[in-house]
Subunit: 138 residues, 2 copies
DNA sequence: ATGGACCTTCTCCTGTACTGGAAGGTCCAT
DNA sequence: ATGGACCTTCCAGTACAGGAGAAGGTCCAT
């Protein structure tokens, strides 16, 4: 069982498809420091190992949790530095949770306001609109 | 009682302060078509009537209802065209409400996911982290 | 007449996560 | 040798609502 790793090298398009994204996005991630600079073939093509797909999957899981690419990069940087990013992940998730709760509270308040305005505007008496105001419903 | 309207003219800075915004923002609104092109003094200064403040207040109320400037402009354009924008306002508020509800539902679902991840990450056993994965909590 | 506060236009920048396109190089099959 | 699919780089733009700052003109009081 000789396993030659060079056989498993992948071009950017293959990696992109395997990870469910596009080659352009992968170049963008590399530029942003989320993916390490890929090896190159003699002709300059990026040459990935299958681990790249794992890393991109992680990025997608982070995004699904509502983390920004900058935050995901922080985690990746810690791990790349040899440390275990659990503590940082915990902090980020805590902050993200507080943020989500705040957004939900804001949206619920906004919902009440807009619902009240909409109900007022639902009265079919446009003739009472005053030309002095732009719209009495807002 | 002779009322000379020219006495009530306002410079952009005054209008901005009265409306709780900045001169820069008012020039931006004008450029975007939310404010009509202001009269000019002989030296080129914008010369507003107090009605401008009313219009800016309306813009702010629209923003508070979560409308975009483009949507607010639609309302303003209808009114400026001599029509009563009640129906359109109603439609916009309806759409906005549906949008808010969707956002709230999305955030609640996201909240559950993130809370579950955070709870998992709260277990103080980082030594079980596997180096093969970037982070087992995400 | 000079300083400071205000005004004008102009262009570029912010953050987020990409996406589109141009111009050119490479790989492989026919 | 030629066509098409793939790759490379770089530049620019998307949506949103302004903000930053430069270079210059104006108004008013001292």
């Amino acid at each position: 069982m000789t396993c030659d790793t060079s056989e498993t090298q992948m071009r950017i398009g293959e990696v992109a498809e395997a990870a469910g994204t596009t080659a352009k996005t992968l170049r963008f991630y590399e530029e942003q420091g989320l993916l390490p600079e890929a090896e190159r073939t003699p002709s300059g093509y990026r040459d990935y190992t299958p681990e790249a797909v794992v890393r991109i999957d992680f990025i997608h899981r982070g995004q699904a949790a509502g983390l920004t690419l900058a935050q995901i990069k922080q985690i990746l940087d810690i791990r790349d530095g040899g440390e275990i990013p659990c503590g940082h992940v915990r902090d980020l998730l805590d902050a993200r949770l507080a943020d989500i709760d705040r957004q939900i509270a804001d949206l619920l308040a906004l919902r009440d306001n807009v619902a009240a305005l909409r109900d007022a505007a639902a009265e079919p008496e446009p003739e009472t609109c005053n030309a002095d105001e732009v719209c009495r419903y807002l």
